[in-house]
Amino acid sequence: MRPRSAFKYIKENKGRSILIIFMFFLTVVQAVAGNFIESMTWYWERAFLYDDRAPMVGAVSSDEEFRDFEAVMKDLTEDSDLIVLRRSSLGYPGLDWKCTMGYEMGSVSYVVDNRDDLQKLFDRMGVECDLTNVGQRSVVMSKALAANRGLKLGDTLDSSVDSNITGKYTFDAMIDDDSFILFYVESNPDNSLRAYVMSDDLEGDALRSRIEDIIGDRNVMMSQSLRKAVTEQFAPFNLIFLASAFLVSIMLSVTVNSVLTGHYLKRIYEFGVYRAIGWTRRNVIGKVFCEIIVMDIIAILLGVAVMLLATFMLDQLVYMPSGQYLPYVSKIGIAGAVLSNILVVVPSMILQGRRMAKADVTEF
């Protein structure tokens, strides 16, 4: 190992280096906090997908609007690209469930008249599920949601399970995915004033736009995009997380720089001698940069390993058994960790590098 190398310094000064690596490590584990934030929207990913593939249209309330609804239904059905599933317009609540952040979240529900309609819905949504036992007053939900609520196949869902549920339903089929959505099967032919509109070729904005064009200025409502609504609601959490990551990083940066200043001041003689024997400013700054960067890379690698291991353990031992999930990686988590790491490491490199480049052996 070359005497000038950063590894040499780290190897020979393990105690000091470990302290600094630990501080840099703290910047990386901020990503876990970001993962928790992102986990909230992650729960909704399936719901977004299903909503993009089966938006709902419905009548509002007056007779004139009912007539508009029927006219729209006729036009939608006549469009060869669209598949229309009419459904009951009664209220069917979703189930509240606990997220990894510890609080309860609501969910969406779908209602279809019968098993065939549910199969059509599932075919378009891309859901695979054995519907053999499904009949009137059945409920279908995912394994994750069932685990979260402590339900098993055959259980009865009524107001004792969730106060918003009116009537009795049986949990008759389970979907092997992570959706937090309830599917009811119940026919109300006298009150069939809503419909899911699907397509084999269209989804998302394209599908909504086609439906909007058909509705025109008639008094029929279409459900707003769940993706937009939920993302807008969660956006402040991301900002709060980034702001808190910024504040924590500033505090960490001050602490790290105090430690590093003490650390490098002890080495002022070393750098003074380097300057005296002809090292350029760039050589000295380069050595400081390399030492800090190598310690940071070690901290990042350790941080990532610890973070993945901790997430795996949390998921396996705590979250997955109760139908929850903490993602291993998230955009907001990466953004927080990168922001924090830059705020801590870059000022350290600049301050200590400049200080050591000024070391002057004639002043000792």
Partner: protein
């Protein structure tokens, strides 16, 4: 090798009571030989050495090294001079505590790793260090051994001028004379400038420069 003209160094330039570390004098130094700069504390001997070695820029005057005024060259040229042509031994050896004796010498080397490694071992052996001491950290070496390592570090790039600032200050009498013997040997083909306030170690010098209050009080050549 050196032509010094009207060199002066003033500290506290901005205050009314200016402190003259060097009072403006002329001095010529030879290409080879052992030159002793002697004087009491505060006489300006270290300042003169720093000016000769580009570690400090004099307030006024010229320091000509091989026909070139080194006070007015760029800092990168000064760094190159210090790296290629000058070697330094400091009063407190200033060895890097976490590097072994061998690595402390190598850290100053400018050639290939192989060459620097071979030269390091040769110099340390020539200076009387045993091989088992090569891997020892400075804390495990005696003061005399540390100073020898510092001398080897100063010699590693075969400098044309070796500056030694109080190289024997922290050594006992025997070690002090051993260090001076080594420097004397080295000065046969190069210039060695030794700054000290201990007249007893300068018995073998080729030229003695005596300073008093920042001015030359006597120059003796043998």
């Amino acid at each position: 090798m050196y032509k010094i003209r009207n060199i002066s160094m003033i500290y506290d330039m901005d205050t009314d009571e200016k402190l003259y570390a060097l009072g403006g004098f002329d001095l010529d130094l030879p290409d080879t030989g052992l030159v002793g700069i002697i004087g009491p504390s505060g006489s300006g001997k270290s300042t003169l050495m720093y000016c000769l070695s580009t570690l400090k820029k004099p307030t006024e005057g010229i320091v000509e090294y091989n026909g070139k005024d080194i006070t007015s060259i760029s800092s990168s040229e000064q760094e190159k001079l210090r790296r290629k042509e000058f070697g330094f031994v400091f009063q407190k050896h200033y060895l890097v505590p976490y590097l072994s004796a061998c690595e402390n010498v190598m850290v100053a080397g400018t050639g290939s790793d192989d060459d620097v490694g071979k030269k390091t071992e040769k110099y340390l052996k020539d200076l009387g260090l045993k091989e088992r001491e090569f891997r020892k950290k400075p804390a495990k070496l005696s003061g005399g051994q540390c100073q020898r390592v510092a001398i080897a570090r100063a010699m590693i790039n075969d400098p044309r001028v070796l500056f030694a600032d109080e190289p024997t200050a922290s050594l006992d009498h025997e070690n002090a004379f051993n260090v001076m013997r080594i420097l004397k040997e080295y000065s046969k083909e190069r210039l060695v400038v030794v700054v000290t306030h201990d007249r007893s170690i300068l018995g073998d010098v080729d030229m003695m420069v005596e300073l008093w209050d920042g001015n030359l009080s006597n120059v003796t050549t043998r």
